[in-house]
Symmetry: C2
Subunit: 328 residues, 2 copies
């Protein structure tokens, strides 16, 4: 099993690679080696053969190079985030739409020539949905995004379904919940505060909460997001039918739920490090986001999400803080 990871230097890419390299197999099949690609140089894992490539899918020929050794399994995780795609219209479409299409087209051309048909896992987003939203978003709800990022993800999903229907590859689109707790420095995602108000207090630092405690949203831990990708890779897609894009099971929780869990896990001192600085603009934007989903299709296919915010915090402590919270 040869595996290509595009976006291998990103948070999800690195964690996925770490898990796959540690396990040495996926879905019962031994991993023969990796091709790792990103716009900044990805780091190869120890132990398994790996080609690490600095690659930009928007450059003609780049996608062909990435699939040159005909990987059996492709994880397409690359993309620019919502805030950046909204700020830079052209770059967002180039990377998130044209880059994805270039990859799909390179696979199609190889398929036409040789019958090549890899499994392809694509990370989409709940940003494909836009207000007005029901309290619980059903499996048949329309994708009417309110950002250019969400539009680009929704278009990529449509392409993935059509290319899969045509038999060019065997694709699954995974609509990830908001990842929480996102480790490391904040990125340009507007949802960053959801992670900040937990990650920072856990190490004794202040964090700003710009929205009311009552605001509800949809979450998964990084570890669980990786488990979605690994599960998708070994899934028999005949059970999926033509609808290849799946809402992942998440945790529907309010900001208050997150803060309560922080108190349980790390105490009152940690909670006191959260500084409330209401921001109407951010509140208005996030209030329009999805609050809850019916993810019964994914659940029936064996995807398993979180059930409490305490678990989400404990996973962060185990995976990022080597086992213990470090409040000041």
């Amino acid at each position: 099993m040869k595996i290509l990871i595009i976006g291998a230097a990103g948070m999800i890419g690195r964690k996925l690679l770490h898990r796959l390299a540690a396990e040495g197999e996926i879905g019962g099949q031994k991993i023969a080696g990796f091709t790792l690609a990103d716009v900044i140089a990805p780091q190869a894992p120890p132990g398994l053969p790996a080609r690490a490539l600095t690659a930009d899918l928007t450059i003609p020929g780049a996608a062909q190079t990435l699939i040159a050794d005909r990987p059996d399994l492709i994880f397409h995780l690359a993309g620019i985030v919502s805030g950046e795609a909204e700020k830079n219209f052209e770059k967002g479409y180039q990377v998130n739409l044209d880059g994805t299409r270039a990859l799909f087209e390179a696979i199609r051309r190889e398929h036409e020539g040789s019958g090549y048909r890899p499994k392809l896992i694509f990370t989409s987003s709940v940003a494909v949905f836009g207000a007005p939203l029901p309290d619980v978003i059903g499996e048949d709800f329309l994708t009417a995004p309110l950002t250019s990022y969400g539009t680009q993800k929704a278009i990529a999903e449509l392409l993935l379904a059509d290319y899969s229907r045509r038999g060019f590859f065997d694709g699954i689109g995974i609509r990830l919940p908001t990842i929480c707790i996102r480790p490391g420095a904040p990125n340009a995602a507007a949802s960053g505060f959801f992670s900040n108000i937990l990650r920072e207090p856990l190490v004794g630092r202040e964090a700003i909460l710009p929205v009311p405690d009552t605001l509800r949203h949809w979450f998964a831990s990084p570890r669980t997001a990786i488990s979605f990708l690994v599960h998708a890779a070994s899934l028999d897609t005949t059970a999926l039918g033509p609808r290849r894009n799946l809402n992942m099971p998440g945790l529907s929780a309010t900001v208050a739920d997150a803060i309560d869990a922080l108190k349980t896990v790390a105490g009152e001192d940690a909670v006191n490090l959260i500084r409330r600085e209401p921001d109407e603009g951010i509140t208005r934007m996030i209030s329009a986001w999805a609050r809850d989903f019916d993810a019964s299709r994914a659940i029936s296919l064996g995807f398993v999400g979180e059930t409490s915010f305490e678990d989400i915090i404990r996973i962060h402590i185990e995976d990022e803080l080597t086992g213990s919270a470090k409040p000041s």
Copy 2:
């Protein structure tokens, strides 16, 4: 008011032009002139100034040429039909996706330079929906197409909504029901028989019915389709909100309803010209198509559809057969 019609040589384009030229105004505004474009030379109407251009949106620079005189209103009707898009994957994406995006991009670049912001009416299709479908498709139902044509239309809808949200143009996507009775020679659309079994017997010719009489589908006459386009052009889009793509009101009817109406309008002799040649492939495909819609959004915005198949047949007789059916 300067008007650009792309796809002006097609059936819908010619009928739209005919009506606009005859009325000389749209939404209370005098028409100053037309730019007419198509891949085959469109015919200019008498009376009003018109530039007729042979143009292919997939050729670099073509879209810029079409909007060079900054039309106030653009009808984008061009595209290749479902059967052809399914047969020729690359051509379908080139024309229906890349051609549409080239037009949108040309408008955006002009907008960035000068603040240009035309009204844009785009003809989409109920092919954006794919089985499994409910008996009545609601306003919030997902677009999960089962053809490359439907995929291309769904992607164009997403782009239209995002470009409108950004303020580059003021767009409306019109999901046309299956047009019936389509005049002239059959095209590559798989739905052709719906028109054939009425149009041909009305002039004394046999027609083949490949599906059962019980099959239900969603229809509008060509005249009503034109009225949708004209109404959309004069609509205040603030009432639309961010969801810019609308199911048009159609007539939900079975093949038996159509045949009953033919009998009422043209008699038993006409009905006897329908030859039943069941085709499992066509039946399977059409059975997966939309049967009925909740089009309450469009109806509340003033769009008016047909209410009987007899009206659909009478409109064909009035508009195409100069007032009388001609059975043999």
